[in-house]
């Protein structure tokens, strides 16, 4: 809560709460040897992700730390902005020129751009536009030693130097705090939302495959399975309903613009104390994994086939949540050979710390440890919260 004097991560209370109002003050805090690890906080939409910090920690609120303006160049389809800008504010600015940033993680209106990129996950639009990191042109980052460093630029094509932006995206702030970002943006195109109730996942999946192969290029193609129905949600370019229907041989139900999209985007992130897991897998393993998950009785299963993503949620009242959480390590083991990863995105209080958020490490983890040791040897940022205890 704004102005709150307490801050908890998975039931563990922060020793200090910092809220710097300038970059200079932020640097002072980062370089101050207070013996704590700093947990960066943006719009607070993804704080449940990650393990409990190791040792005493301070919450580091970044929402007031940067004061730059949103510098949008519509003719170049680029924008440079301070990392504490909310996605909602950015989109409103871009929309004035008929443009947008096609990144839409759950509950993202109030999420900050820095936070979104540090977490690195997308939403329904990822099926068409790829992961958030694909839209980053350049970044400035504050390192744990208090140095501001930069990589990339603000042009839409750039191979000048190492692509550190990809390293910073999805790193959960463990190797630096994102301070400024240059992004590619895209023109808004006219779309229409449709739904289709199907017999089961296989039927919906078959339709998505067909739509993709026929080059219809949907912006979103999510499948929602709950105990009562399987529903396919499609966001299609305007004026292709007829041709799509004739190609797939199904009638599409037009939906009110936005409502179903938000349901797909925010699923698993709307109420407190849900167990929400995210699975990344190949197209050919979707069916097998969904069958496994259904045995664990989730309230909802969201499948984003063109992104290789499944999100399963158990509401806090679902008595199966505890058993499901116990099953996750076994499921991970079963799927190890299938290039599948399972991440716990949110978990109810009574399950906190019982299941490893990220799953087992592989041989390339050695490189990741070296990366952490190179850029944050003392664990100043988010110590213990990331993959493999980084």
């Amino acid at each position: 809560m704004p102005g709150s004097k307490t801050f908890n991560i998975k039931g563990k209370a922060a020793t200090e709460i910092y809220r710097p109002n300038s970059i200079e003050k932020l640097i002072q805090i980062v370089t101050n040897r207070d013996g704590l690890t700093l947990v960066p906080v943006g719009g607070k939409t993804q704080l449940d992700l990650g393990d409990t910090p190791t040792g005493d920690f301070a919450a580091l609120h970044l929402v007031d730390a940067f004061h730059g303006k949103i510098d949008h160049e519509p003719a170049d389809l680029t924008v440079v902005l301070p990392a504490n800008t909310t996605l909602g504010k950015l989109q409103a600015t871009l929309m004035k020129s008929g443009q947008r940033l096609p990144i839409d993680p759950p509950n993202s209106e109030n999420a900050t751009i820095g936070g979104i990129l540090a977490v690195g996950i997308g939403g329904p639009l990822q099926s068409r536009f790829g992961p958030p990191r694909d839209w980053v042109l350049g970044m400035s980052v504050l390192r744990a030693d208090g140095e501001l460093v930069r990589a990339g630029g603000r042009v839409v094509k750039n191979v000048t130097g190492y692509d550190l932006m990809r390293l910073w995206c999805g790193s959960l702030g463990t190797i630096g705090l994102i301070t400024e970002v240059a992004l590619r943006v895209t023109p808004v195109t006219e779309t229409e939302d449709y739904s289709l109730v199907t017999e089961n996942f296989e039927e919906a999946h078959k339709i998505v495959e067909q739509i993709y192969k026929e080059d219809i290029r949907p912006e979103c193609s999510d499948i929602l399975i709950n105990p009562t129905a399987s529903t396919l949600f499609l966001r299609l370019p305007k004026n292709v309903r007829k041709v799509t229907q004739s190609l797939i041989n199904y009638d599409l139900q037009q939906e009110q613009a936005g409502a179903m999209y938000l349901q797909m985007r925010d699923l698993g992130f709307t109420t407190n104390d849900d167990l929400t897991i995210r699975i990344s897998c190949t197209n050919s393993t979707l069916k097998f994994i969904i069958a496994k998950l259904q045995q664990m009785h989730p309230d909802n299963l969201l499948i984003r086939p063109l992104s290789g993503l499944i999100r399963a949620t158990w509401k806090s009242k679902n008595p199966q949540a505890l058993d499901a959480s116990k099953e996750i390590p076994f499921l991970r083991k079963q799927l190890q050979q299938k290039d599948t990863t399972i991440i716990i995105e949110r978990s109810p209080k009574h399950l906190d710390n019982k299941v490893d958020t990220w799953g087992p490490t592989g041989i390339s983890f050695k490189l990741m440890q070296k990366i952490k040791n190179t850029y944050d040897p003392d664990g100043r940022f988010n110590r213990g919260r990331y993959f493999g205890g980084i």
Binding site: A75, T78, G153, K157, V159, L167, S284
Partner: protein, 483 residues
């Protein structure tokens, strides 16, 4: 040959077989250069056939403290494969198996020496293709594309190599084999895959690569819009993008290049036009029809004198043959050409072209322009004759000035060819010493102590700049450029 080198040859032969090690000067000469003007002879060239052999070669190089330079097809345009300090060049030419094409998951697993075009050809029967298409795609390899994060005309809408590679087996600069990324779009932990792509062979060698394949577009319309001056063509590019349309490709070709391409390749280009835009729009017929009209309107608004559409796949292929073969065709009008690669914000294209013209005039080198206008990625080609003493130095100076113009307009040093050896000294124009030191740290992570593809990407100080023309090229841009 020294005793030490004889011993090294023996051990290399033991790893890859005697027929796969070169060490005589006459055999080494083809490996002293890539597509740039710089050159340096390696001491040994080896052709491994598998990951384990590469591991052993890297181990051996560490033991003998001799540098390694990885090489694909040698088509690179920034000197990335030139062995500046000699040593061993590892060529991936024998590792050219397409291990698997998996149409259900729309991925392929390939070895690094597979030529780019072979992948698309092999995937075609499943209705799929590999999107990055550098102009050298008939020769350049997937491993080389990873090193350079290669683009191509079709990356305007589809993205560059990093957007199409899911995972890799690599041998790190330290000699350790491992997988980074996998077969799915998301892996847990730091995106080491993304860091490795575009690292220009300084962090290791990719030995197996998982790439994404895309469905072949339902329909494709390729158009040629003809203009009476290059500025109008540049303005048309901005109008197309501003109208909300992102074509599959949007290429600009100027008069000098058009004439060379037409003379050499008979591709049907109008040789009297000042500039043309090659525009490609693909997708569902219903959408393509609307977008083609949109693009036509934008071109007409900027005085396009004529718009031609390819009427058949053969005609389309001919138009692309001209574009992709354009640079090679320049050999008809000058003994040498220096290909530059810079990027500017799209809205600054007109000003940039004017400045490029001024520099060309100042130095007396004609310039031929053919480039990816849609993303502001320019490729001025300076035409010269290296047989005239002092000319190579002068052309490098002119190139440095053009790079400086790109940076002054808010652009960058390379859009797709990489920094390599050619531009490492210009990096301080863009980044301060802390930024560069921050990038340099990445090498330590992968165990590169300075012996793995030395003198590439980042300025290394003494030892990497003895070639006389480099300081001259740098000084051409003026001391103020050093920030």
């Amino acid at each position: 040959m020294s005793k030490n080198n004889k011993q090294l040859v023996k051990q290399l032969q033991k790893i890859v077989g005697a027929e796969n090690v070169l060490y005589k000067t006459e055999d080494l000469i083809p490996y002293e250069m890539d597509g740039t003007v710089e050159r340096h002879l390696p001491d040994f060239v080896v052709f491994p056939s598998c990951t384990q052999e590469i591991v052993e070669i890297v181990e051996l190089s560490k033991k003998f403290m001799i540098p390694i330079t990885p090489r694909g097809a040698g088509t690179g345009l920034s000197g990335g494969a030139i062995p500046i300090h000699g040593g061993i060049v590892i060529v991936t030419a024998r590792m050219r198996k397409i291990i698997e094409i998996d149409p259900i998951n729309r991925i392929a697993i390939v070895e690094p020496g597979v030529p780019n075009i072979n992948l698309t050809t092999a995937a075609a029967s499943d209705g799929l293709f590999y999107a990055p298409d550098p102009s050298s795609q008939k020769a350049c390899t997937i491993g080389g594309n990873i090193a350079e994060n290669a683009g191509g005309p079709h990356c305007l809408a589809l993205g560059v190599t990093t957007n199409h590679v899911l995972g890799m087996e690599i041998v790190t600069a330290d000699g350790e084999p491992m997988w980074i990324g996998g077969k799915t779009p998301e892996s847990v932990g730091y995106d080491v895959r993304g860091l490795f792509i575009g690292s220009e062979g300084t962090l290791g060698i990719a030995t197996k690569i998982v790439v994404r394949l895309l469905p072949i577009p339902a329909t494709i319309t390729t158009m040629l819009a003809i203009f009476n001056n290059i500025e109008d063509a540049c303005h048309a590019v901005s109008s197309i993008i501003e109208s909300g349309l992102i074509p599959a490709a949007l290429e600009l070709i100027d008069k000098v290049t058009l004439q060379a391409a037409e003379a050499g390749l008979n591709c049907g280009y109008p040789s009297d036009a000042e500039a043309v835009l090659l525009i490609e729009i693909d997708g569902l017929q219903e959408i393509v029809d609307t977008q083609v009209k949109q693009a036509e309107e934008a071109c007409k608004q900027h005085q396009a004198s004529e718009i031609r559409k390819a009427q058949s796949p053969d005609e389309r292929e001919l138009l692309w043959k001209g574009r992709k073969g354009a640079i090679g065709a320049l050999g008809r009008i000058a003994p040498n050409y220096y290909i530059l690669d810079g990027v500017v914000p799209r809205s600054r294209l007109v000003e940039t072209m004017l400045e490029v013209g001024k520099i060309s005039e100042k130095y007396g080198f004609p310039v031929a322009n053919v480039f990816h206008a849609g993303d502001g990625n320019i490729h001025p080609n300076l035409l010269f004759d290296e047989r005239i003493p002092g000319t190579t130095e002068k052309v490098l100076q002119a190139g440095a000035e053009i790079m400086n113009v790109c940076i002054s307009f808010g652009g960058t040093l390379s859009g797709e060819h990489g920094v390599g050896y050619e531009k490492q000294r210009f990096m301080p124009w863009l980044y301060n010493e802390i930024d560069l030191e921050n990038m340099r740290s990445v090498r330590t992570v992968f165990g590169n102590s300075g012996m793995f593809n030395p003198c590439k990407i980042l300025p290394e100080g003494s030892g990497c700049g003895e070639i006389a023309n480099i300081p001259m090229a740098v000084s051409a841009a003026g001391p103020d450029a050093w920030i």
